[in-house]
Structures are given as structure tokens and as C-alpha cells.
């Protein structure tokens, strides 16, 4: 049994080695092709040929937008949970803060009624969530492990309950309607604003573009002193501090960056839905994002992407297949159930996730160093 588990685990490692051993150019071309594919994917003329891949029961572009949006959330949470090892269950709280900030700044129905355009509200939302991350992190990041999880969980619930009860600003359960869509000046070929109600494709493209930039940023951070500090904190916080890592500062940064990405997702969500109330921020969503990160492989950016894709896209796809076979599969009902089972199986066979956190152990310089004969060292 154990030997078999080891075999399953090592298969992933060999795939990884194969990818690494490919020339740099090949990897870039492959990556570029993937990006082009993702941009083309929501077009009907494109996905209609991919019958085995497309969702049949629900609108492909909408599902793709939701998936992309979920990927963005997972990439942000991965910084906090995967790299810095801080179990943050309140991630959706930041998402809510971002969404409400945009709603309050843009909607004519909000108390402030200042009617900013969506685009101007986005940086404000990111700034506000980042600040709220620092405010929450300041006192709570002194806690560790489970205690941090409890406090952050409390934070998310507090935000949600406040939003549902507060009549003055958040409009209680009625929520805030008429949030403007992103950039109304950009017109489509039909003269209508590109970002409308019916077509989800522009939102998907926007989200995809944001994801690419966020991934680039996170990748730069993780392959630097900052990322090393995060992983060191995750591995052994005391040892990290004794090795000169200002642990509190870097934990706060991880928290703030995660919060900012969460707030950005919230801003996107508000712009797409054009209406938010406290029901949009249920705790199960927090857990689902966390499950996606762990499924994909905490501490690996692309693992988080794949995990989120599987968590959101796969159930929709399964529903389509079920529909084609004449079965009525209600995804919403079974998602959590199937997910629990998948996670248990994962934890047995591949506890490190689908794409485990593999720090790019050896860059070319290191490989050269390794290959070079070392002088008698001991």
C-alpha cells in the first residue's frame, strides 16, 4: 500500500522534472499557447469544437468567468496560506470589504452617492482591503495556527453579519444595487458597452488579464527574499526569526497582499453582478477557496490555479455530462460532498497537493554549480 502511494506521488515529481528539463524557449512557447487558448476559450466558435471540454448545461462564458474569478481568489489566498503558512479562514471577509467599498463608492443607491466610475473605485477598494488586512493582522498575527484561524473566521462572520444588520451604510439584506459595470466607455461592435449584462466574455477576459498580472507579481515576490522569508516562517517561525527574518513584518505583508487580491476579486464581483448583499459572502465560500488551494498544492502558484479550476469548473462540466446522459445532476447540492471525498483521497495519496510546492530548487546557475566538481571539502 505504502509503496503504491509512493509510486503515485513520485509520478508527479517525474512530470515536473520533465517540464524543468525542457529548454526555456519551449516552456515559454507552451505557456504562451496556453494563454492564447485561455483567451480564445469563451468564444462560441472556439469552444463548440471542444465538446469534451465545454460545459453543456450552463453558459460557457459565465462558467469561465466564475472559474477565473475563483482562480484569482485562490491565488491570493495561496500567498497567505500556502507561502506564509497562516491559516486564514476570514479571506472572504476581505472579499466582502472590497465589494462593499466599490458598491459604496459607485452606486447611486449608496449613502455616499458620490457615483465614482468603477475603474476609479478599484484602486480604492484594493487600498481599503489592504488597510483592513493590516488592521486585522496587527493584533491577530501574534497568534499562531488554530488560534489565528479562529480569529480570522470570526472576522469574516463579523463583516457578513454587520453587512446584513447594518441599515445605515450597507442597506441590510436589501443590499446595494445599481453598481456600475466596468468601463462603460468601451463599446463593442454593436455600439453597446462591452461590459453588459448578457455577455460574460469581457468580464472573463478582464479577470484573466488581472490574474496574469497578479501571478507575475506573486511570482516575483516568492522568488525573492520576501518569498524565502514567508516559507521560512511557514517551516519554523522561531528559527526564521533567529536567522534574522523580521517575522511579524513579513506575516503582515503576506496578510495585506492576500487581502488586496481578495479585495480586487470583490471589486470585480461587484462590477459584474451590479448588486451585492451579505448573502454573497457565505462562510462556505471561504472554505471552498481554502479547499481549492490545498487541493492544488499549497505554496505553488500554479497548483492554486489548477485547484481552483477543478473546484469550480469540474462540477459544472460534470453537470453538462450528466445532462447529456439524461441525468439531472445538481452540482450545488453535491459539490461539497464530492469535494470532501476528493480531499480525503488526496490527503492519502498526495498530501502535498496536485502540484506541490516546489521552490524552483535549482536555477541554471545552481545546476552548473552542482555539475562542477567540488574540491575536497571536509
Amino acid at each position: 500500500m505504502n509503496a503504491h502511494i509512493e509510486k503515485v506521488r513520485s509520478r508527479g515529481a517525474s512530470m515536473r522534472a520533465r517540464w524543468d528539463s525542457m529548454p526555456r524557449q519551449v516552456r515559454w512557447v507552451a505557456l504562451l499557447a496556453l494563454i492564447v487558448f485561455l483567451y480564445l476559450l469563451p468564444n462560441r466558435w472556439f469552444y463548440i469544437n471542444l465538446w469534451y471540454f465545454r460545459t453543456m448545461e450552463s453558459d460557457m462564458a459565465t462558467v469561465l468567468f466564475e472559474t477565473a474569478f475563483f482562480v484569482l481568489l485562490a491565488v491570493g489566498l495561496n500567498v497567505v496560506v500556502g507561502f506564509a503558512g497562516l491559516l486564514d479562514l476570514g479571506y472572504f471577509g476581505f472579499f466582502a470589504v472590497g465589494a462593499y467599498t466599490v458598491a459604496l463608492l459607485t452606486s447611486p443607491e449608496s449613502r455616499f452617492d458620490i457615483g465614482w466610475p468603477w475603474l476609479a473605485a478599484v484602486p480604492a477598494a484594493v487600498a481599503v482591503t489592504m488597510i483592513s488586512g493590516v488592521i486585522l493582522g496587527g493584533p491577530t498575527l501574534r497568534l499562531r495556527g488554530d488560534y489565528l484561524a479562529i480569529v480570522t473566521l470570526g472576522f469574516a462572520e463579523m463583516i457578513r453579519l454587520y453587512a446584513s444588520r447594518n441599515e445605515g451604510i450597507a442597506n441590510g439584506q436589501r443590499g446595494i444595487p445599481q453598481i456600475p459595470h466596468p468601463v462603460p466607455d468601451v463599446k463593442g461592435s454593436d455600439g453597446q458597452s462591452l461590459f453588459g449584462v448578457v455577455d460574460a466574455r469581457p468580464y472573463y477576459w478582464l479577470t484573466l488579464t488581472i490574474i496574469i498580472f497578479v501571478i507575475l507579481g506573486v511570482r516575483n515576490l516568492t522568488r525573492s527574499r520576501v518569498g524565502r522569508a514567508w516559507v521560512a516562517i511557514r517551516e519554523d517561525e522561531d528559527a526564521a526569526q533567529i536567522m534574522g527574518v523580521p517575522t511579524f513584518k513579513y506575516k503582515l505583508w503576506a496578510f495585506a497582499i492576500g487581502a488586496a487580491v481578495g479585495g480586487l476579486s470583490g471589486a470585480l464581483f461587484a462590477g459584474k453582478q451590479s448588486f451585492i448583499n451579505s448573502d454573497s459572502f457565505q462562510l462556505t465560500n471561504s472554505i471552498l477557496v481554502l479547499a481549492a488551494v490545498i487541493l492544488g498544492g499549497a505554496g505553488n502558484i500554479y497548483g492554486a490555479v489548477i485547484g481552483a479550476f477543478i473546484t469550480w469548473y469540474l462540477p459544472e462540466w460534470v453537470r453538462g455530462i450528466g445532462g447529456a446522459l439524461g441525468l439531472e445532476i445538481n452540482v450545488a447540492e453535491y459539490r461539497i460532498l464530492i469535494f470532501g471525498a476528493v480531499l480525503i483521497v488526496m490527503m492519502i495519496f498526495r498530501p502535498q497537493g496536485i502540484l506541490p510546492n516546489r521552490r524552483r530548487a535549482a536555477e541554471f546557475a545552481d545546476r552548473r554549480q552542482e555539475a562542477a566538481p567540488t574540491e575536497a571539502s571536509t
Binding site: 524565502r228 522569508a229 522561531d238 533567529i242 536567522m243 534574522g244 517575522t247 530548487a361 567540488t374
Partner: protein
């Protein structure tokens, strides 16, 4: 035990006399337990000082007080004349005190190279913004940190920089801890039982390594149970028992000290 120590290994040169670390009448209590009782000794620049004593004598506690893990109840510890009690731990590291751990505490999921680079980062100034946008400072510090880490890995004798720390052999892990500590550019290196679990050959190479470290101008404080190693490499020895200093002096003096023989050397090492 004592008769196995050859006299010839005692260092010939007189220890230098410029104080680096002063443990000034330090008492440390945990509730009713007195872990350190009025411990008082000085570490001079450029020497290798051994800290020995039976298990539970307070050696590691003393280490922890020096690296800021514990704050003394009474007395103070000065490093280069500056008081270190009450400073944040990473600040103490930046002042120039580095340590290894009795139970290996590497970052197991990081490569050997990255472990050492974390240490090198202690003096780096790259901010989150310059890392995010890959500003010139990022490239400069990343390159110098990487080169330094490679040099240190070669110095301690680890041939596979890309290997995850948890996949390294036990001996390599111990040496990697030393490399990581050295990467913080310390003036004082504290080694907490670096030879634990080593075979005689590994102990010999460790002894050479400690000498090499001292020869680069770093002062070394060594906690060790292996008397052959302690007698062979240290310039002076401080002996603790039940949190009190019972002896201090050259290895030969300490070895013949009746109180030390009674407390530590006289009994078989297994029971100590």
C-alpha cells in the same frame, strides 16, 4: 574519560583579551525554577569558548538568553558593550550573534541553498516593492546572496545546493545549520551540541570546521558533550551545574578541577 584527552591538543597561544560578549551576573527564573543562577563569564574576541555541564545544567538556557529567546530575570548580557536583553530576536541576529540548534531546526521544504540564503537575507535591504518590480537592488542582493550561499555550502562541505534540506543526511543537516548561521555574517557563532550523533570521523571533520571558522575571525561559543572535541578545540571552558558556574579556565585546568570532576567528568558520560 579524562585520560583519553591528549595534552598536545590544548591551544598553545594565549587567548586574546578584548571582551565580545559579557554575561553579567545573569539569573533566569521560570516560576520557582532557577534555570540560571548568577552566571557570570566573558567571551573574548577570537576565542573558542566551551560551555559544558551535565544535562539540565542550563547550557541551552544560557544560549537562549544570549540570542534573545529569554530575557534574564536579573543581570544583563552585553554584546560589544551593548545590552541585548529585550531586543527583538532578529535584531540580535543583525547585531552579529548567530546560532545553531540542539535539535536541528532547518527549513525542511527549502533547498540547502535557500536555507543559507535566508541567513544571508538578514543584512539585505530589498523591500517588498523592489522585489515586486525587480528593481536593481533586488538583482544585486539576490546575486550576492546566492554567491555567498554557494561559498558557504562549499565551506561546510555540502555538495548538493539544490537538494531539499529534509533530504540531506543527518551530518549534512548539522553542517547546513552552521552554514545558515554563518550566512548572517556573525561575529559570534553559538553552536549547540553540533556533534550530537556524529561518528568519530565526522567529529574530527567538525573539529577542523570549527577551527576554520575561528580562523576567519569569528568567535565561537560551543556547547558540547563530547569531551574529546571540547578539549581539542576550545581555548577556554566554562562549566555549569544546576544553573551555576562551577568552574572556568583553560581546558587543562578545568579537567583537573575537583568540582568539575565530581559534577561532570568523574561520572560516566552515559549517566551525565
Amino acid at each position: 574519560m579524562t585520560d583519553t584527552v591528549p595534552d598536545t591538543t590544548a591551544p598553545a597561544k594565549a587567548p586574546p583579551r578584548e571582551a565580545l560578549l559579557e554575561v553579567d551576573h545573569v539569573t533566569l527564573r521560570f516560576g520557582g525554577v532557577v534555570a540560571l543562577n548568577d552566571v557570570d563569564f566573558t567571551l573574548y574576541k577570537g576565542e573558542i569558548l566551551g560551555l559544558i555541564g551535565p544535562n539540565g545544567a542550563g547550557k541551552t538556557t544560557c544560549f537562549n538568553a544570549m540570542t534573545g529567546v529569554y530575557t534574564p530575570t536579573q543581570g544583563e548580557i552585553r554584546f560589544n558593550g551593548q545590552r541585548i536583553s529585550g531586543r527583538a530576536r532578529h535584531k540580535i541576529t543583525q547585531m552579529g550573534i548567530a546560532r545553531t540548534f540542539q535539535n536541528i531546526r532547518l527549513f525542511p521544504e527549502m533547498t540547502a541553498l535557500e536555507n543559507v540564503m535566508v541567513g544571508a537575507d538578514a543584512h539585505h535591504k530589498t523591500s517588498v516593492v523592489s522585489a515586486l518590480f525587480r528593481l536593481p537592488r533586488f538583482w544585486k542582493e539576490e546575486r550576492s546572496g546566492r554567491d555567498r550561499a554557494h561559498d558557504l555550502l562549499r565551506f561546510v562541505g555540502i555538495a548538493r545546493p539544490g537538494e531539499l534540506a529534509r533530504n540531506l543526511s543527518y551530518g549534512e543537516q548539522r553542517r547546513l545549520e552552521i552554514a545558515r548561521a554563518l550566512a548572517t555574517s556573525p561575529t559570534l557563532l553559538c553552536l549547540d551540541e553540533p556533534a550530537a550523533g556524529f561518528n568519530p570521523a565526522e567529529k574530527d571533520s567538525l573539529l577542523q570546521l570549527i577551527r576554520k571558522i575561528r580562523d576567519t575571525g569569528i568567535t565561537v561559543l560551543l556547547i558540547e558533550h563530547d569531551m574529546r572535541l571540547v578539549m581539542g578545540v576550545t581555548d577556554r571552558i566554562v562549566v555549569l551545574e544546576f544553573g551555576k558556574k562551577i568552574a572556568e579556565g583553560l581546558p587543562a585546568e578545568v579537567r583537573d578541577n575537583p568540582a568539575v570532576v565530581a559534577a561532570y567528568l568523574g561520572v560516566p558520560t552515559d549517566a551525565a
